[in-house]
């Protein structure tokens, strides 16, 4: 890929009808009672959200991004491949990014098959991220968090073998045995759809991505940490003989565009606040099931969590994370600066958060596509980016 910028539109598909007493619950994940889920409202939301993703394709976003979470209002995509299958025939050009199903929660041959089916159905528009899964998912699925990383590595090996070696082959491992690994169909893209490891930058997952030469999609890390993570990954990948392209290191940013700065903040901040305070709310226990983190990581994260006490402060959070809110000029300028600073040309935009209504989502998608993208694309071949791409 050249230095041309690429724009994704990412959706979490949250369940937005929270009960009035939801603040009584410490966590809206794992144990939040599913009696609060109303399938009739869920039906309306699926239709609406699928429409918003299809709209992103029609407006010219380069990719649409979905992902997987369990037992939570945060996401209604417990099985994102079903969502992707619904999107394939409704979209024309956008790449479909399932970022993604944690391989630990599926038989790896079956996940390789599902991804191959989507890739063939979409004529090679599929991209995949391979998450370990948040700590919360290990309370919701029947998989041991203490052996999650070993299982994850074995799953990846099986999937890659399934895609890249002529079958039937065999696999005899610690967690899985395949006497005939021979999945039909095989992926449309060769050797396989683009793959990213996704995570918050633990050294263990960085090492996995580096060794395989995969991209890394960092989520919910600070700007500073995201940059360190990218640098670290480039170095570790080089150690294994891989040179990462800029597009392999997508920059995740929240975006909201409006006519004026005031209006953008007035329309958006309330939803961003609910995203952080409510939809992402969970407990330390659920974040770190036993064995999910190394002791070093546990201490690092516990110390970090202590520092982050206090109420939601938009100005503070905007300085620390990638959050672009404002006029087309402001948003374009910020993303332009960040992409150079992060040495990436791949911008993964969260275009809907929490209980943001449909009209704001449509407005945001439209203004971003029609006002922000052209501003940034007219600055093609920015020197720093071109250098990074070469």
């Amino acid at each position: 890929m050249s230095g041309a910028l690429r724009f994704n539109s990412m959706h979490f598909m949250p369940y937005v009808y929270l009960p009035d007493n939801h603040k009584d619950y410490k966590s809206l994940w794992v144990s939040f009672p599913n009696k609060f889920y109303d399938p009739e409202k869920g039906h309306e939301l699926y239709n609406r959200y699928l429409g918003e993703l299809v709209m992103a394709d029609r407006l010219g976003f380069d990719a649409i991004v979905i992902n997987e979470h369990h037992n939570t209002v945060y996401s209604m995509m417990a099985t994102p491949n079903l969502i992707a299958a619904a999107l394939v025939p409704q979209t024309q050009n956008a790449r479909i990014c399932v970022w993604g199903t944690p391989p630990n929660f599926m038989q790896p041959n079956r996940l390789a098959e599902e991804y191959a089916i989507l890739d063939v159905m979409s004529k090679g528009r599929l991209e995949i991220a391979l998450p370990l899964g948040t700590g919360m998912e290990y309370w919701s699925n029947s998989v041991n968090p203490a052996t999650a990383r070993e299982r994850f590595k074995e799953s990846l090996k099986i999937m890659l073998q399934a895609w890249t070696e002529d079958g039937p082959t065999t696999h005899y491992g610690q967690f899985y045995t395949y006497r005939f690994l021979n999945p039909w169909p095989r992926p449309y893209q060769k050797p396989h759809p683009p793959c990213y490891v996704v995570g918050t930058g633990s050294p263990e997952t960085i090492e996995i991505a580096a060794e395989l030469g995969f991209g890394y999609a960092s989520v919910f890390v600070t700007q500073q940490r995201a940059r360190e993570l990218n640098e670290n990954l480039r170095q570790r990948a080089a150690h294994y003989g891989h040179t990462l392209r800029p597009d392999q290191l997508p920059l995740l940013t929240f975006v909201y565009v409006a006519e004026t700065q005031e209006r953008a903040e007035q329309e958006y901040i309330v939803h961003l606040q609910r995203f952080f305070e409510d939809y992402a709310r969970t407990s330390p226990q659920f974040l770190a099931p036993p064995g999910y983190l190394s002791i070093d990581q546990l201490k690092t994260r516990a110390a970090m969590a202590d520092k982050m006490h206090g109420g939601f402060d938009f100005q503070a959070i905007s300085k620390s994370f990638f959050i672009a809110v404002g006029t087309p000029d402001k948003v374009a300028n910020q993303i332009g600066e960040w992409s150079q600073w992060m040495k990436t040309n791949h911008i993964n935009c969260v275009t809907h958060v929490a209980d943001m209504p449909h009209w704001k989502t449509v407005k945001n998608l439209t203004l971003f596509a029609e006002e922000v993208m052209p501003r940034l694309r007219s600055r093609v071949q920015q020197p720093a980016l071109r250098a990074a791409a070469e």
């Binding site: 309370w139 029947s142 998989v143 041991n144 968090p145 203490a146 052996t147 407990s283 330390p284 226990q285 770190a288 099931p289 036993p290 064995g291 983190l293 002791i295 546990l298 201490k299 516990a302 110390a303």
Partner: protein
């Protein structure tokens, strides 16, 4: 000061710390899934016995072995440690998870156990009186569930949030998860309990909030010769709450 002497062994590559005190017939104590309760409670036993308290791999002062994924790995570990300690025949006392391990060891190597005492042992699948799934309980709630009288435990806990203490508990929970996350109960374990023929004492706190005291009778169905002693007013850590429970074990050992 503790009378216990600390020694370090390397057992098949795993650092294993053993605390020993007293002289006489050997008594081995297997601790439970956490090591906050310590082992000073066992000092009365040292008057008549050589009390041997090893830290299991993955707990307390011993090292980790991430390949231990089954309780049987611990049985094998202890066969090797007991060889190193030149322990042929001995008394065995196990608490909670350590009780599960002690019963498993005794069902496989009964000829080496003179007498067996199980204090609120884990491992029994008793659908009418199920054990609380402690892995699913938020860490901050666990101490309150372990005892009836919180003062007994309070002095062993940090006064304010302590990162190292939390990390130690997380490490021990990780070790437990490796063993029990997917399969908290093993029906095969119960199948072979009838092989426990040596004199056996089952000790329980009457108000145990982790493993219901009713399980004592379930254990007796599998180990018919066992005696049961229940201490009213005590919780799961009956050995900390009731000195009489520690004395009852001493009397049983003879």
């Amino acid at each position: 000061m503790s009378k216990f002497v600390r020694e370090t062994y390397t057992v098949d590559g795993v650092k294993t710390v053993v605390h020993t005190a007293g002289s006489g017939e050997p008594v081995v104590f297997f601790h439970g899934a956490g090591t906050v309760d310590g082992f000073d409670f066992a000092e009365p036993w040292t008057e008549k016995y050589r009390v041997i308290v090893p830290y299991h791999p993955g707990f307390g002062e011993s090292g980790d072995d991430t390949t231990f994924t089954d309780l049987h790995d611990y049985v094998m570990h202890y066969l090797e440690l007991f060889d190193a300690l030149q322990l042929d025949k001995f008394n065995l006392v196990g608490l909670s998870l350590g009780g599960y391990l002690a019963a498993k060891f005794a069902s496989e190597h009964g000829h080496r156990i003179k007498k067996l005492a199980l204090i609120a042992p884990a491992g029994m699948i008793d659908t009418l009186n199920p054990m609380l799934d402690i892995l699913a309980v938020p860490g901050e709630q666990v101490p309150g569930l372990l005892v009836s009288d919180f003062e007994v435990l309070k002095k062993r806990l940090p006064e304010k949030p302590d990162l190292d203490f939390m990390a130690d508990r997380y490490r021990e929970a990780t070790t437990v998860a490796r063993l029990l996350w997917e399969r908290p109960g093993d029906p095969k374990f119960m199948r072979y309990l009838h092989r426990i023929k040596m004199p056996t004492l089952i000790v329980w706190g009457g108000e145990d909030k982790i493993i219901p005291v009713q399980q004592a009778e379930t254990w007796r169905k599998f180990i018919p010769n066992a005696d049961i002693k229940i201490f009213k007013g005590a919780g799961h850590l009956v050995h900390l709450e009731k000195r009489e429970a520690v004395e009852a074990v001493a009397r049983f050992l003879g």
